[in-house]
Symmetry: C2
Subunit: 140 residues, 2 copies
């Protein structure tokens, strides 16, 4: 995920990377931000990883799968995770501004008919946050 | 939008249709639910319309454009609308369950750095809701 995030930064994209794994931890889909490259405002890392995994599985349901992202999913990517029915979501750095998945689920507790557990992997949070901070610092 | 929604229903997809227009009301992108057909959990009408319009414009920003959907956008499609920077969102039928765009914006008032106005077009709400009700009634 962090290698994908780094690759995004090298392409001038916000450094976020994501993968979808099956229960054997095999990677079924990879994504990194490609918004500028694809000229597609929906080309977020998590969404691309989910789409790639669904294509690989030839199924719109990824019920056994796990989404792992270097950043807490935004509203768009949370929606993609919900509709893909992934079993769980792991993320590294938390979202400080905007609406992250944790906050979305907290507020709309009972509103989603599929609500995977969201787990922060704190061990990688620092490195992911550093990549993001460096990226935005260069832009100021 | 309602013709697109009807087309979706004929393909066994939840009947939702959407378009993105420029300020001259010319259609730049069309979408209808194609989740099963594309085996893609993110292939919601609004998201496909936004992606098509961004491709047509060769830009990831649709700042002058308007998104019109037969159903109030969900979290995924609200995210797509926010990131595409559309100027306004029009919808026909409101979302009764789950998290629609109106509720999302109401709760997270200041959280989004781009927050287009959301306008319900009540004149078409009944017809859109009828298509959805018929579709789900057949499935029970």
């Amino acid at each position: 995920m962090l290698a994908l995030a780094t690759a995004a930064a090298l392409s001038e994209e916000v450094p976020v990377g994501a993968v979808v794994c099956n229960p054997q931890w095999e990677i079924l889909g990879r994504g990194r931000n490609e918004i500028l490259e694809r000229k597609d405002p929906t080309a977020h890392a998590e969404l691309l990883a989910i789409r790639a995994a669904a294509q690989a599985q030839q199924s719109e349901r990824l019920s056994d799968c796990i989404l792992i992202s270097s950043l807490e999913p935004c509203a768009l990517c949370s929606g993609a995770a919900i509709f893909s029915r992934v079993k769980a979501v792991y993320y590294f750095a938390p979202v400080f501004t905007g609406v992250g998945m944790t906050r979305l689920f907290e507020v709309f507790a009972e509103s989603f008919n599929h609500r995977p557990p969201i787990i922060q992997v704190e061990a990688f949070a620092g490195e992911s946050a550093r990549l993001l901070k460096e990226f935005f610092a260069k832009r100021r």
